[in-house]
Symmetry: C2
Subunit: 309 residues, 2 copies
Amino acid sequence: MTVPTVVTLDIGGTTIKGALVGADGQELKRLDRDTGASSGESEVVARVRAVARELADAGTVGVGLSVPGIVDTAAGVARHAVNLGFRDTPLAALVAEEVGVPVVLEQDCRAAAVAESEIGLGRDARDLMVVVLGTGVAAGLIVDGRPLAGADGSAGELGHLPVYPDGEHCACGQRGCLEVYASASGIARRYAAAGGTRAGATAADVASSLDSDVVAARVWREATEALGLALATATLLLDPALIVLAGGLTGAGDTLLRPVRSELQGALAWRQAPPVANSPLGGDAGRLGAAILAWRAAGYEDVVLRDAV
Amino acid sequence: MTVPTVVTLDIGGTTIKGALVGADGQELKRLDRDTGASSGESEVVARVRAVARELADAGTVGVGLSVPGIVDTAAGVARHAVNLGFRDTPLAALVAEEVGVPVVLEQDCRAAAVAESEIGLGRDARDLMVVVLGTGVAAGLIVDGRPLAGADGSAGELGHLPVYPDGEHCACGQRGCLEVYASASGIARRYAAAGGTRAGATAADVASSLDSDVVAARVWREATEALGLALATATLLLDPALIVLAGGLTGAGDTLLRPVRSELQGALAWRQAPPVANSPLGGDAGRLGAAILAWRAAGYEDVVLRDAV
């Protein structure tokens, strides 16, 4: 008897993280491959197709793809992803051609938010926000149980909220963007620019030396202040039941959570802040979310991968 | 033959604006009554019930209520409205008891957004934001065709976005809230505080004297700058197809629209701003939205009141 499976691919700037997943959430096969991004769009697409084909077995009923950038989920098109060369790339159709089953495409933060709402901390929440704090900062929003894509598929650009209108310049051309202060790259850059003595310090290094390094302590405080402000803004607009932090910066654990919770509540004078927690899904959230969406696209509405966590 | 009708009530701080509406959108009867807010919750509820009963006819199939504050639409409960004394008031059930038909309750900005999306400028948009610029500032959000309420029914609090984190104090206890700068009351207050020479000037007075009054010009510019920043933030998070301005301040017409459009685009370095327009529905948006929701609650999904505008 053939057991139904889905293929899930989380396509990042450097690695395609793929898996073949059973209905119990178990990973039956795992395949990570270099994205080949330096060779451009057609090479990336060829590798995505190849990984999907290699992973699929006789029982595969669907494929889920998680990609960065601007994604039109309904059309299955990767509208724009600078680091992968995607530009109106009909990725879902191209992979479906290869594998012969329904393929669903979702933006990576929204896929992570789907995973969080189905099998992570958001199981009881209809409205939640997942904030991915990595090289950049972006959010995946779940509203009334569904991912919020927006009119152009670009909702959730939390990293470019102008938290300080007259603040430091951002590479995007705006000023005072959250990402300038609270991304891993921003923290490392600001530590070095402020004369931090630890050469080549990463954001994790900064987080781990708050007690002994006044520059680190200040840069970290400014990061969590900016993040608290942005989360207050998002709370006022969206009223989430829960905010989940994800991405590399959450490696700092309570060193991140404690000041962010405090700054968020401090910025909300007249309403209680929603709870803020670190994701238990780690770097697997995008791939798990794409797997959940693949099951749904294949008509298996009840598969929620609860055993995957 | 009995013609089906709905009763719609827009319950404001001072006036209950009621109407009996036919399926073609025509108002068959109109009834405005003082809210009686100074006498407290029970008097307001009694008046709402009385107006609903007076308006209902033999054909009435549903009632729609639009109320300010925090509203739990699913439960039909007005959670909190300071000016009306509502505190977990089960208004839908209380009116249903009086009229004997299904009653739907919606927050006023969300009701206005429903009207805008069904019969106003948002007919072609699945995602839009209606910003009501009156004594205060608040937004009604439509996401993927549905009003966004949030976990506690308090989504859309645009007026308290901290646009300037170190800005002027707001009555809410926060600093730099949009409402401080861009509400009608905020504009009038800031004009007076800045030494504006026109005693008792309203926001409309300020808007109409930009060419001759440097204080008015500065206060108005600061209002539209703050609004542009807040709309940029909302655009980055929600990616609406359209932003509709409503409320008293839109009486200024292009004097409002032109700088707001320019400030919004100026704050968005790397993406195009959504179009911004003034609502054609004026003060009727809340009542029209409640009528649309009443038709839906009564099972008349197809009635969209297109003839009402």
